[in-house]
Amino acid sequence: MIRSPHRDALRILFILKAGGSLVEPPTTTEHALIFKGEARLQAFDFWMRNPDYLAAELLDLFAETKDKSYYKAAQAILDDEEPDLRRVPMVRYFFGAYERLDDALSLLRSRDLIRITGTKGANNKVLETDFVLTKTGYDTCSTAVSQEPILQWYADRAELVAKVAGTMGGTALKQKQYQRASYAETKLGGIIPAITEDVRLRVRQLQAD
């Protein structure tokens, strides 16, 4: 399995952009957006790395809203064989040790594309880690796509993930993902199983409907 910290870093960068919100109140012009919560970031990244799980969510949304674009998005994911080609396997991380994003975050921080901040409680304990996307970071997203068009997929996918996640917080998102993964009978400490065939079946059923 080829690993690339640069690719992981860029993926995170696109997530922060897609899932970030304006800094309120505006502090400095260097700060473009703020992405709240490391758990939320992990949750976003889960959908980025497991297209089949994302497709399952899209189908749920379609069933819920009858918005056909969700269905088409899910279908496109399967048609492009994304669950096979785009999956970045990850160790189960909901409880206990999980894959840390330190390497990627370090890369982003060293270029000053992001800044890591947090909300501290009364006893000076970090309650929530927030990620600030600097103006440089924000611009890098655009230049990266224009320089390397192959990276457009990450920008688009991050937007889609953000759309699916909506306003849900990291805990809620993780809960949602956990349920689906449990349903797929994940073995503790094992690799998150592919649910591609389940999703493919649902797509076909919906197509038939």
Binding site: I2, R7, R86, S110, Q147, Y154
Partner: protein, 638 residues
Amino acid sequence: MDTSAVEGILSTHRIQPSPVLAQPRRLVLREIEFSGQKDGVANAGAFTFSWTALDHGLWAMLSEQNLRGKSTIIEVVRWMIRGRPSSNLQDDVRRWLHAVRLSFLLDSDEYEIVAKTQGEPIGSLYRIRSPNTPGGEPGKTVLADFATDGEFEAVMADFFMRMFAMDPISTWRQGKEDDGQSVTHSWVAFSGAMFIGTNYEVLLGDMPVTTGLTSRLMQMYLGVPWVSTLAAAKTAHQIVEQAVQVSARKKEQGHEATTARIASISTQLAEKRAELAKIPSDEAVRSAIDAYTTELVDVRRQERVMVEHAERAVAALRELITVHQEDRRDLQTHMDAMSATAVFRRLEPKCCPRCDHTISKAKKELESSTHSCSVCGESITNSEDSEAIKAELQERVAASEAAVASASAKKEEAENELAALRGKVDLLQSRLESASKELGSAVRRQEAAMAVAALEGRLEEASISPVAQADDRSGELKILSAVVTETEARVKAVRDGLLTDVSARLVEYAKAFGMENLSEASLKGNAALSLVKGGVPTSYSKVTEGEKLRLKVAAVLAMIEIAEARGIGRHPGLLMIDSPAAQEVSPVDVDHLIAGLQAIFTKLPHFQVFVAGISSKAITDHIPVVNRREVAGNAFLW
């Protein structure tokens, strides 16, 4: 030809030889009596008529007017003798009659008919015996009783036919198409020879011409031997001929039916034979089963090998697909990574990710001169080999793709072969199954063979043309034909010259009866009478009614006389002539007739002739008063 065969045929058809005629018997009326009650007329009331002491000779019933009872006397006699009243007896007169008695002599024997005639006739026929002692009462023997019209007729017919030894006359009456029937005219017909009524249509008797009876009746008058034999033979011949025709037609129909039957059986036989040919023998079935079993074992073995092979192919394909997917994912990942790396390469480090300290300018310059990282001091190696890695990854993708295609083809091939082998297995199994069923076909084969044998038998049977021995009546026809020819020759031998003599005598009588201009008459065997009158040829049917009356009487008398002279006559010697109404036949004709009859009695002394007519001088001149029953004016005879 065997004599007994001929006799058999003659006996079958009741053809009896009649070479000798029975002696003629003479019939003479002795007493005529009848009584009754008239009603619905002027002289209504009880009446009685009695005429006794009759004997040979000429007798007359006379009145000055018509419808005075003359004809009734003749009709009553006729009724008694025939046993059946003729249609000339008026219905009211028949009703008036309550009792009738007629006594007569047959040669020297005396007989008497006594009948009550109110309703159906009830009475008896008696034979009168001579008194045992002179002067004593004569005794009566009942010969037969009768109580109905039918019985009366049967009694009289039987009595007279036997007394006169007559054979019934048979004639063949042609019916519609091929049907026909022989009709026997017995006493009613024969008795017609004794009565000359007012119907002048036929020369002899009173039966219609259409019955074809006249010529036969004439032959009876003339008493020619063999006549009854000839008639019976002719009738028999016609019957047999008829039967032969019918049988020939039936035989033809039978032949058609046989042909159709043979065709039908042949068709069935061909079908059954084909069926039999299709049913294989058990031996053939068994060897087929052995062959199928051997082949099946072999194919099954091949199938097992192929199953394994196919499973391996499927597994290999699955594995290769996974590999191919991995290769593509690696390539994708590598490409993404290359792009990501390129992006980062353009971005200089700004700070330490660990402590957030800004990278100093000096460190950056050091990095560009020493190629050691400005952050961590590690050597920065430009990963120029990433393009090589990309190429390698692309090659791997291509290689695994080719491997997948190859494995897929192999898998498909293996599966196809497996399907073919399984098809073979199925085919062999179904062949084995049907062959096993065929093993039980011994019974079916037996049945088919039996059916073929039965049909062959039936065909053979149907093909034998039926020998119609029973239908071959040609011998019989030949015999009958010979009998007809022979008897006809004998009849002709006797009759030849007879008719010439009769014809000559007929002319004499007719002349005596006043037909002076009749110069020639020719009576034929069929009783046709052609004439030459006043030098002009004519025939019986064309002369006047008065002339017909005289010709009828002349013909009868001529035949009787010639027959008497030759000893062949069979006429009983009684003749009753009813004269026609005055408007049809002139009194002059009747006078001539009576005068002529009177003259004839010199030749036929034993004859008894009754004439009914209008009173005239001619009659009274010729007939003595004792021989007459006569009324004057409007008076009635009874």
